[in-house]
């Protein structure tokens, strides 16, 4: 492991080029000032560059490895998106600057809203939610506000399939709703009879991911929409898997009233080691008045279009503001650049090639002896294999395969999610990976399985080639060490 930057510090060392220079005395009374000296690094610029470059080299990333992490859509992040979002006019623009000095930016945002409406089939888009989970919060808040505005105050139940992302039930709770868990059938579709029994006068709405987290398309979605709407509830679309259908099917056409999009998945903005995300939302007619603000509007006078913000005054029923300004604007710019490059003629090909890659990989792994969770179904843009047979017979678990893959220089698929399938790996190759890469991954999977099945090799202690061996998670939680203190551990 690399030493901590604090351990490399030497008293008095500085990156002097970064100093703005000494200043005269300041006019703040002493009682307001700090007297202690917090621990911050004292290092030269080269030391800092070298330290963080070396840390970066301990990461797997899309730029360096195949990263088939299911439900995360780890596709190539085009470099142009970053470079163009960082142009001085964009990067240096103050969020409270006047619209006179923001027409270029606002023009992009308005067009992004329009493009997102088109690809989702929704009537309005607000770009402000800062991540998928915040888009969910916006969506459920809007559903609640809609029922409230109609005097329908009893509707406080949100139906969530058992296969859903954890953010779905957590969001419903944050909005003060009760969660009803809907079972999934053995074919991977939700249990329609259970849904019929569950809806009623307390139903506020249902949260669905389609294709679901099981990697299959919910075939009876039109019927689901009828049942929920018939009971007076609304439908929320979790856009985590939008890449599977982009340009092919639109959530608005399926009957959804509100959707969040993970721009960092479908539209390839960077995952950045865990964020920033961006969870823009789209709404149908019923929820238009409730959108979070600000929203960008355009007005054309004498052939000249100008762009401005819609605020509380324009949308008095809005659920309000979710961020200090307008969300992750720089991420939105990156998504804008990506969508303009993909264009109308390319959008459906994202879904098509993501699906082609997933189905190819599914068939190759099935033929190599891996058990599919839903063997009778088409893969969407992702699919699940289950190691439960191997776990029982050869003590080869999903965790073992995940860790062994790291030594083959592949990032692991998503493990143990969704919770419904035992010993599962959720695999999403994305459209930007080549056939050679997929074949290489299959070869690695076969090599691992063969070693376990035929030679009795155990991977309990894998990985071996990473900067660290398998880490002690229990110790991490029991003996909390969350910040470096040379004197004591906290």
């Amino acid at each position: 492991m690399e030493k901590l930057i604090f351990e490399k510090s030497r008293t008095g060392r500085r990156a002097f080029a970064q100093s703005p220079g000494e200043s005269e005395d300041i006019n703040i009374p002493e009682s307001f000032l700090r007297v202690d000296r917090p621990q911050l690094p004292e290092a030269s610029e080269l030391q800092v560059v070298r330290h963080f470059t070396r840390l970066s080299q301990m990461n797997f990333s899309i730029d360096t490895q195949f990263y088939p992490l299911g439900s995360c859509t780890m596709k190539y992040n085009p470099r142009a998106c970053n470079a163009l979002a960082m142009l001085p006019g964009f990067a240096g623009r103050h969020p409270l600057g006047p619209v006179s000095h923001g027409q270029g930016f606002l023009n992009c945002m308005f067009e992004l809203q329009e493009m997102l409406k088109d690809v989702t089939g929704m009537q309005g888009v607000s770009l402000t939610p800062m991540a998928g989970a915040q888009g969910e919060l916006a969506g459920i808040s809007m559903i609640c506000a809609y029922h409230d505005a109609r005097g329908d105050h009893e509707r406080n139940e949100i139906i969530v399939p058992d296969a859903a992302h954890g953010t779905n039930p957590a969001t419903a709770t944050m909005c003060g709703c009760d969660v009803r868990e809907l079972p999934t059938g053995s074919d991977g579709d939700i249990n329609i009879e259970a849904l019929k029994a569950m809806v009623g006068p307390k139903t506020a709405g249902i949260m669905l991911t389609n294709p679901s987290t099981l990697g299959v398309f919910e075939r009876r979605i039109i019927e689901v929409a009828k049942i929920v709407h018939g009971a007076g509830g609304l439908l929320y679309y979790d856009g985590a898997n939008l890449n599977a259908i982009i340009g092919k099917v639109r959530p608005g056409d399926m009957g959804f009233d509100v959707i969040h999009m993970n721009l960092h998945k479908t539209f390839s903005t960077p995952h950045g080691g865990g964020g920033p995300g961006s969870g823009a939302i789209g709404v149908g007619d019923r929820l238009l008045p409730f959108m979070p603000i600000p929203v960008v509007a355009a007005a054309t006078i004498d052939g000249k279009t100008t762009y401005d913000w819609l605020t509380e005054d324009d949308l008095p029923q809005s659920i309000g503001r979710l961020s200090g300004f307008m969300g992750n604007a720089g991420v939105l710019l990156r998504a804008y650049v990506y969508m303009r490059m993909v264009g109308r003629e390319g959008m459906h090909r994202l879904a098509e090639y993501a699906t082609l890659n997933a189905n190819y990989l599914q068939v190759r792994l099935r033929d190599a002896g891996f058990e599919l969770a839903f063997p009778d179904r088409r893969a969407s843009h992702e699919f699940i294999i289950t190691l439960k047979r191997d776990a029982k017979t050869f003590d080869l678990t999903a965790m073992d395969v995940a860790k062994a893959l790291l030594d083959h220089n592949y990032h692991a698929p998503t493990t143990y999610f969704p919770l419904l399938v035992d010993e599962c790996l959720l695999i999403e190759p994305t459209e930007t990976e080549s056939k050679e890469t997929l074949d290489g991954f299959v070869a690695a999977m076969i090599a691992i399985a063969t070693e376990a099945r035929e030679k009795g090799v155990s991977f309990k202690e894998a990985p071996y080639k990473m900067p660290v061996r398998r880490l002690d998670d229990v110790k991490a939680a029991r003996q909390l060490d969350l910040a470096y203190r040379p004197d004591k551990r906290l």
């Binding site: 492991m1 901590l4 990156a15 703005p20 000494e22 307001f32 202690d36 911050l40 800092v48 963080f52 970066s56 301990m58 990461n59 990333s61 990263y67 142009a80 142009l87 964009f90 990067a91 623009r93 270029g104 088109d118 800062m130 915040q134 954890g166 953010t167 957590a170 003060g176 259908i245 995952h271 080691g273 865990g274 979070p292 503001r321 979710l322 961020s323 200090g324 300004f325 307008m326 604007a329 720089g330 991420v331 303009r340 490059m341 264009g343 109308r344 003629e345 459906h348 090909r349 189905n359 190819y360 068939v363 088409r378 692991a412 990473m466 900067p467 660290v468 002690d472 969350l482 910040a483």
Partner: protein, 456 residues
Amino acid sequence: MPFIPHTKDDVIEMLAAIGADDIGALFDEIPAELLIESLDRMPVGLSEMDITRLMHVRAARDGTPLCFIGAGAYEHHIPTVVWDISTRGEFYSAYTPYQAEASQGTLQTIYEYQTMMTGLTALDVSNASMYDGASSLAEAALMAVRCNRKKDSGCILLAPGVNPTYEKVAVAIAGRQRITFERLPMDETTGNVGGDLDDSADPVAVVIQQPSFFGTLEDVDRLTNWAHQQGALVIAIVNPTSLALLKAPGHWGEDGADIACGEGQPLGVPLSSGGPYFGFMTCKKKYVRQMPGRIVGRTTDLDNQPGYALTLQAREQHIRRSKATSNICTNQGLMVTAATIYLSLLGFDGLAQVARRSQQNVTRLAGRLTAIEGVERLFEGPHFHELVLRLDRPVAAVLDALAHRDILGGYNLAEFYPELGNALLICATETKTEADIDAYATALAEIFENGSRRSA
């Protein structure tokens, strides 16, 4: 098609392996009536050359005006190293470090970040960041309610200097959970908490912003002690740059603030129209299990060597689902990487220089501007790198006139504080030179002169 590598032969071989006639067949489980032929309004795709030209035109249209706006987002010099290293593909295109062994770079960076934030705020533990400053207050309020089970009032008291947008965001995020936000009264001469403190609200927590939204400095010791005497938690909203100068939340009053949060953007993150930024959150150790968001811990591996992993995940939505501390999943990893590099380069002394230089610049700027007839300081007392001016005429028209000269003269307080009259919040960071300050003062003097002539 920009980013799909498949050759025709690849597609043929792959379809043959699958046993499908064409790619369309892979969508045969989707009801046919749902499949669309084409999109209506998407424009056709652009090459990188074409989109580059378009974006350069648009960025140039927004220009690079001289900016004296603060109000929650601050223009600081960002060392070149910060984004050169942060946008290395290994940081930029990695995901959440769930596979710890293959993510030690991100994990160690976050651990170093957590260390720096606990040091700056003088509190025990830090999470791996929240979305932004405003939403971090919402999460801190919800956390305070969980930590302070003895109180069931649901009332969170806000000092008058709490950023008004933060309050709006907190209401939007937390308002459906029976939490109410109320304001303490303002002293009109200082902009700080005024009058005798009323003990009747029985608050769960008291929120103190230092420096305040007006740039002024509150008597945080008195307020902290008052809140604690009532059994309320203290939530500090702080500007991280200011912590190189000002007393850290952990040292406020007798016992220190319980939770600190705020906007991390000043630490190396570009203004970028409001995001992506990051919110930070630190707290006393006894509250760590109620903290929302990701947390990284140091542990050991099978060889007993040190390593880092996400920890205390039982608080989080992917484990606890509807009973999680929050629905938050993301941390602003890339921004935190930038901030960690920024703080490594500046160190405490560099950050203190930035803070002092900023404080001094806004003092100088105010001195120049208040020399103009019709411009005066609104609040007495010490300030950090922002302060409020009162003009003898409506602020909006003055800001428009300045913007015509490519000067963004500050933030108009009329929307949130009409009772303050023609109040303008100005900011000058270390990025402003004597010439910049002179340009602002000269332009404002001219505008006032022309305006007076017109009205005379």
